[in-house]
């Protein structure tokens, strides 16, 4: 759908280019074109209500109207408001990037943003504009039936205009989606750094997922900061939730361990499952005397022992 649209815009551009060269080669054509003012604005204004009704009908036929995510009254409001803005802007004339078009563009961008939030696809979002083509063209045909040349001209102008509106809709849709993804990424970065206090002097960092460089950097910094803040003597880095330990992950871990040691604290890596241990050995990575444990419980028990704590059971389990 998007691809088809881009192709269409592409052909449109080629058409414009060939028209321009045609206009240049013939002075008569140029004069004729400048004499005629687009009648789209006046047609839009005169038939606003009919156009809105047909547009909504079209939207419903293509599925948007039956969608429970958007009510019919909402759809009516949106089409109506857009038509008012569009006819005002078209009356003022000029390019869609000029001042007169600001309100129309803003409105379309708002519609796109709300479609993203309601979970519509880009195709469904773009359909808002494109389903207006048919009613508008039908109206142009009715109004300009006697003047073939004018009909061709106006149809072309209307196509160009609606394609531009469609592109604005899609661009806004894309932008909103990108913002959403960026925000989620930022949230993930924060989520993934929960440094937990296990005991007096013992911190744990449960790592989950892929340790790419950006994330590891943040995780490492927050752990080091917490060590400084709390004066912890021992940190446990738990990699139970890390599916693959390759040389890059190993390097990140080694750097973190070195930094922790430089701060005078000690470190245990837990969650080193048997298959991970074997793979690290074959990979040839030297963990340089880092203490590793298969699970977090073993690591905690070792940590407690190292700091001189003893855990005793005072009552037998029943």
């Amino acid at each position: 759908m998007l691809h088809a649209l881009i192709m269409r815009v592409h052909t449109a551009i080629q058409l414009i280019q060939s028209r321009v060269s045609l206009a240049k080669s013939s002075a008569r054509v140029t004069r004729e074109q400048t004499c005629r003012k687009s009648r789209i604005a006046e047609i839009l204004k005169a038939h606003q209500d009919d156009l809105a009704a047909e547009w909504v009908k079209n939207l419903q036929a293509t599925g948007t109207g039956k969608d429970s995510r958007i009510s019919e009254s909402q759809l009516r409001e949106q089409t109506k408001e857009f038509l008012v803005l569009l006819s005002e802007a078209a009356a003022a004339g000029g390019d869609v990037h000029s001042q007169a078009w600001n309100a129309t563009v803003d409105f379309l961008e708002d519609v796109s943003r709300s479609r993203v939030q309601q979970g519509f696809t880009s195709e469904e979002t773009a359909r808002f504009i494109f389903s207006f083509k048919q009613p508008l063209f039908a109206r142009l045909r009715a109004e300009l039936a006697k003047d073939h040349e004018a009909f061709a001209e106006e149809t072309w102008a209307a196509t160009e205009l609606l394609d531009k509106m469609g592109l604005i809709t899609i661009a806004a849709f894309q932008k909103t989606r990108e913002d959403l993804i960026n925000r989620q990424q930022q949230e993930m970065l924060e989520l993934s750094t929960p440094v937990v206090k296990m005991w007096d002097g013992i911190l744990a960092l449960p790592m989950i997922g892929t340790l790419d460089s950006a994330r590891t950097q943040i995780v490492m910094e927050s752990l080091l900061q917490r060590i400084v803040d709390t004066g912890a003597e021992l940190a446990i880095i738990d990699i139970t939730g890390v599916p693959t330990v390759d040389t890059l992950v190993a390097q990140h871990l080694l750097k973190t361990v070195t930094a922790i040691r430089l701060m005078g604290a000690d470190c245990i890596i837990s969650g080193v499952r048997p298959q991970i241990a074997q793979t690290i050995v074959h990979l040839g990575v030297d963990l340089q005397g880092v203490t590793t444990k298969a699970n977090l419980a073993d690591a905690l028990s070792l940590a407690l022992k190292k700091l001189g704590f003893a855990v005793t059971r005072t009552k037998a389990a029943n």
Partner: protein, 134 residues
């Protein structure tokens, strides 16, 4: 030797390394590789995919499921049209890196699989093929 299945994935960005690892894990599970063998193959793929992105400037990974006699195997080919490797002996040496890695990726990947083959030409690109049999 019969080729049962073949898939190709782009390996251009850091995120593609994650996708490549997932594809390899899925195939290794399908082939009922042991957990250790799965982990070895996924880790080797991770090393080679990252080299493709970081040094090769991006390329592709092809995964193939093979049957040879009664054995089944997983073969992966990493190919790029990057700068190539000028000194193969050096590149295959434990601990040698031209960047800021540990320099264990190529030699480590070789130890994690059954067959390892690397072809590289300066200015043309690099192709690494690894196979692990069940």
């Amino acid at each position: 030797m019969a080729l049962v299945k073949s898939e190709e994935l782009p390996v251009r960005l850091e995120q593609d390394v994650v996708v490549a690892r997932q594809a390899v894990r899925r195939l290794a599970v399908e082939l009922k590789f042991s957990l250790v063998d799965q982990t070895k193959m996924v880790t080797a793929a991770s090393e080679l995919a990252r080299n493709t992105v970081v040094y090769g400037g991006g390329g592709t990974m092809r995964c193939e499921v093979l049957i040879d006699g009664g054995k089944s195997g997983l073969r992966m080919t990493f190919e790029d049209q990057g700068p190539g490797i000028p000194d193969m002996t050096l590149a295959m040496k434990d601990g040698w890196t031209s960047g800021s890695g540990l320099g264990m990726g190529l030699s480590g990947a070789k130890r994690l699989v059954n067959d390892f083959d690397i072809v590289s030409e300066v200015g043309k690109g690099t192709r690494v093929t690894i196979t692990r049999w069940k």
